[in-house]
Symmetry: C2
């Protein structure tokens, strides 16, 4: 947990452990000390949590010979490569990207993906296919549309399409699902020696206090307590990571949105939850133990804290992309105003049009970046 006003650098993390959760083991304290030098800690009498007020460098176990991997995204001056922060990876004879059905021995990843500059990720497989086909048309590429096939067809966990420098991948729903995909995607971009990659999550969300159909560009992802952090469990530690996104990229996207007629867009905080029903204060789940008044109180406090929409992937997306040197943005359309209702009951054609809005914005952005705009 961060002290009030304490901001995390993308390469720095706060680690805490819950010793009462761990059977007495001489190695527990050793493990923490091995990558930390805690100057102080405080013990919680209620829950037993010990908080170490210390920052961790992700690369602290990297051998000296691999010290080039320590490079920080903030020190970038030339080509910006994707950083994996794992000293073991380059020692592996083969890397099987199991959930993508790809691997370093079975596929020529640099040849397949080396030219990728834009990665777009979204929950729904069908929507990511539609986005790839849309981008293909917008980029005016020569390749036949029929040749855009699911690169991950050997698995049904995710789907992946490539058109020119644009890669579109589905990630399923929720933090764990997108986290698996991101680990393997980041390794893929690393193995393929991609550089200067921009990654954007496009999705749907529930709005708070804004009209359905509004596109929200996330400035920072916050958790259920409205805090800009992602808590990652690693062995017996809870590591807190920054969820800041690329400010320049958000502003560039916002400027793009102004060029599209009738395209309501704003920049705001996005709340990321572990659950769609109880976790977002819905009254229509199989379980509900709170009142309508408490729900509204919670959502209004979220609004007051700057939250404009709620989804289920942005914190881990921001954290992992930040740590790995990927310029990242989150662009989600809202399908309802949660101050008004819980159920999504838009007419089908309206729903389809809303869902296309993030795709339209990203297409404009990519075309501008590639100098293809009028």
């Amino acid at each position: 947990m961060l002290a009030p006003g304490c901001e995390l650098d993308p390469d720095q993390e706060v680690v805490r452990t819950r010793p009462e959760d761990v059977p007495a083991s001489p190695s527990t304290s050793t493990m923490i000390v091995s990558f930390l030098r805690p100057p102080s800690h405080a013990s919680c009498t209620a829950c037993g949590t010990v908080t170490f007020h210390i920052v961790e460098r992700m690369a602290s176990v990297i051998p000296a010979s691999n010290s080039s991997m320590r490079s920080d995204r903030n020190t970038y001056v030339g080509k910006r490569f994707v950083h994996v922060k794992n000293p073991y990876l380059d020692l592996m004879d083969e890397d099987i990207l199991y959930h993508l059905d790809l691997g370093t021995k079975t596929h020529n990843l640099p040849a397949m993906f080396g030219d990728v500059k834009f990665v777009c990720v979204g929950g729904s497989p069908n929507r990511m296919k539609a986005f790839a086909l849309f981008m293909h048309k917008e980029l005016g590429l020569e390749e036949a549309e029929e040749d855009i096939k699911d690169i991950c067809a050997g698995t049904d966990r995710y789907c992946m399409y490539k058109t020119g420098p644009v890669l579109a991948i589905s990630h399923g729903m929720g933090i764990p699902s997108i986290s698996i995909m991101l680990h393997e995607l980041i390794k893929l971009l690393h193995h393929a020696r991609c550089c200067d990659v921009t990654i954007i999550r496009i999705g749907t969300s529930g709005g708070i206090g804004i009209a359905p159909g509004t596109v929200v560009i996330t400035d920072i992802a916050v958790d259920s307590f409205f805090k800009p952090r992602f808590e990652q469990v690693i062995l017996d530690n809870i590591v807190t990571r920054s969820t800041e996104l690329d400010k320049e990229l958000s502003e560039e996207l916002f400027n793009c949105s102004k060029e599209i007629p009738n395209f309501p867009t704003l920049i705001g905080h996005t709340m990321c939850t572990y659950d769609f029903y109880e976790g977002q204060g819905r009254l229509d789940g199989a379980l509900c133990s709170f009142s309508r008044e408490k729900k509204l109180d919670y959502l209004k406090r979220a609004y007051k804290a700057g939250v404009r929409n709620i989804e289920m992937e942005s914190t881990v997306f921001a954290a992992m992309c930040g740590l790995c040197g990927l310029k990242a943005a989150v662009v989600c359309v809202t399908l309802l105003d949660r101050l008004d209702c819980d159920q999504i009951n838009l007419p089908h054609d309206v729903l389809v049009e809303y869902q296309q809005r993030p795709q339209l914005l990203i297409s404009n952005f990519i075309r501008r970046r590639l100098g293809l705009c009028d």
Copy 2:
């Protein structure tokens, strides 16, 4: 957090809140008091967490007129209906099960699903389709195989197949993804007035200290700290729920396994994590900040605590099914021994055979239950 030795009844929960996470609001304390009468609390000086040592009854906001919904699964004597624990649900004019593309006004749910007695859920859509087709054959039903179509074809979030009294549904990867599906599935079973339903999750997992291909029947699901609990964030509270599974059902399944030749099976604890890489101590993710020794130390401590396999859905599955009166089991095959390796590199035919093992066991179980065994 539970005090040592404290066990949770499925209908009881421990609620705690993190007041430093919530902007000062007069309603915060009121909200907690409204469904709790905390006899004592302790404040954490390190993280600010306030823990209320109190149990919550899920049905505490249910009006007196709906008190029949308070029934506990332990008090069942006749037909066991599925309990939704949400007083608002029956007040709704229509319930749209958005992620299943079903609804109470658009579909006759009792006619479609009223005879369901066995629900099998698993991560992969293809595997759940394969299971439905396998069950169809095993049950010797008259309906043509081609008629077994994806009931949720209007969405790509989940897929669902029905054959006789067996419903097979995919749930994607991770706690949030299965949680959305379970909320909507439980409401579906409630709307369809199903009774005496048994639900089984079949899946793949990483083993600890056991041979790949072993089928693990879960006695209790534990979290990353080896504790039998699921922490659900509800508004500003963290609610701790029991993750116990049905003991009789586990033993019945284990007895079934003995009848299948060359079918290594055991009953043990299953650890459920939020992440496949760092969360399970893998050395092959895009991020890795710990050593091989620390990984092995963690996994060996898990083994010592009774954990025999690791997956990503069992805690929330056990918690939600327990609260809603569904007799539940988790049956996962292990694809590797995590004490030996991190990557899944089985030959394709071996992988396919292993993945079929939970299906084979469940098919035997269902056929026995229906009196179709020799």
